[in-house]
Symmetry: C2
Subunit: 239 residues, 2 copies
DNA sequence: CCAAAAGTGTTGGGCCTACACCCATGT
DNA sequence: ACATGGGTGTAGGCCCAACACTTTTGG
């Protein structure tokens, strides 16, 4: 960052890659695109693409998501920088430095292919393997990070629609962590954390078609959880 | 990441910036260099520099640290990627994307200037302001991240020499957090966390010149703390 | 009436804060 | 002897996991 001799540095291509996660039918899903060009043509990959000259990585991430998947202006999209992958050789034909993002969204619209992607699709997390480039690793890092941040931040609400029930919020934890939680205790912990959720007065909704209608909540102003909601699993694994 | 049309992307300069933190005389210090060239000539900045063609960001970070400060092959250097700063305009004369790292080290050797830096120096964290570029922000982000990771990882040992006393480990927490901790309880928490520290049999060392010699410990194999060591401050603020 | 889902109550145990106290060393 | 820092013990309280129980809906 100090010498500006034009020969002192080499230009790199800079890209963004997105691990877009959501919950569908009680299972964690990731948004994948099928590559239309070499290298890795026909293989599945994380959506992403090159930075434009006047874009930050965050801006490029939102643009690429819209272009390649049709998910434009998604309400409630949570974007978070994961880390940057810069190993030489991670792209077989040129030097590419990639800024990876994890993105969470609540209600998943059906994506469509576009841009360089021949098609885009929601894939169950466990079925997403053998991705192009080092995307297997990026995806695994994203899941680890999201799982860890559920413990000590309010991130879980990013998986939920604007108004949600505590049962839905609990399902986020159970699905991402792969553990069952005690409902009464979960409710008390959440409600005891100031600013985590806010009650929507008078509102209620039926969830499973049966049972008592659940009260609705909105995400509160807090961003961190004190104390954290620790991953103390029971044995079972629900849907 | 999908089209390889040579006109579809713009090359960027890619750099690394390092927030190197250590403890000196019970206070958090950061390693700064004085810039020898425009822009920001004469201003203090975080050490850093351009990636070479065959380097990962991690490799470049270690190389730049050695070149600009003389800190080569520092034993126990902990390097951790912070995030990437890519806003257009963060460098006044060209488009630069910078991968920032936080680095922690135990015993701070006296650095020397070198490379593009006219001098390098340890500066108390609170005195490090008005840095070049967006380095104020990077430094603040580094401190936040380190403080948070002390809670739920074994990171604190990265501030300590290979063999350390529990009192020294506690000082790490107290200095970074700016809070006083209860010594008996701190000791029990640390020893109760499997894999956090390992006793060095029979070894002991005097710390303050006076008092009972303290038993020595090594960093253990664990990387995360279960349960976490939460920041529950008492009122005081010690040295 | 039954099943299913939301929500409340309660209890016993464990952890942890706060503090008192003992140990070893230098001056 | 005393100051200084390391290390142990312990009591009270808070937190919380576990589970029983009530409430409200659809079939």
């Amino acid at each position: 960052m100090h010498g500006y001799d034009k020969h002192a540095y080499e230009p790199f291509a800079v890209t963004v890659d997105l691990a877009v996660l959501t919950l569908r039918a009680g299972a964690l899903h990731v948004l994948l695109v099928e590559r239309g060009q070499e290298p890795y043509a026909g293989r599945w990959a994380l959506p992403g693409g090159f930075l434009l000259p006047e874009e930050s990585a965050e801006t490029a991430a939102r643009r690429e998501l819209a272009e390649e998947t049709g998910l434009a202006d998604v309400t409630g999209l949570h974007l978070e920088q994961l880390r940057t992958y810069s190993e030489p050789g991670r792209d077989p034909r040129m030097r590419v430095v990639s800024v990876a993002f994890a993105a969470l969204l609540p209600h998943p619209p059906e994506p469509r292919g576009g841009g360089d992607a021949s098609q885009a699709r929601w894939v169950p997390y466990d079925a997403a393997a053998d991705l192009a480039f080092d995307h297997d690793r990026i995806l695994a890092d994203a899941r680890d990070r999201v799982g860890a941040k559920l413990e000590y931040t309010c991130l879980a609400t990013a998986f939920c629609p604007p108004e949600f029930t505590l049962g839905e919020l609990q399902q986020v934890y159970e699905t991402v962590w792969g553990t069952a939680l005690d409902r009464p205790n979960f409710r008390r912990k959440v409600l005891a954390t100031p600013g985590f959720v806010e009650a929507v007065p008078g509102a209620a909704r039926l969830t499973g078609g049966r049972g008592k209608p659940a009260a609705l909540y909105r995400a509160g102003p807090a961003t961190t959880l004190h104390p954290p909601l620790l991953r103390t699993p029971r044995e079972g694994r629900p849907a």
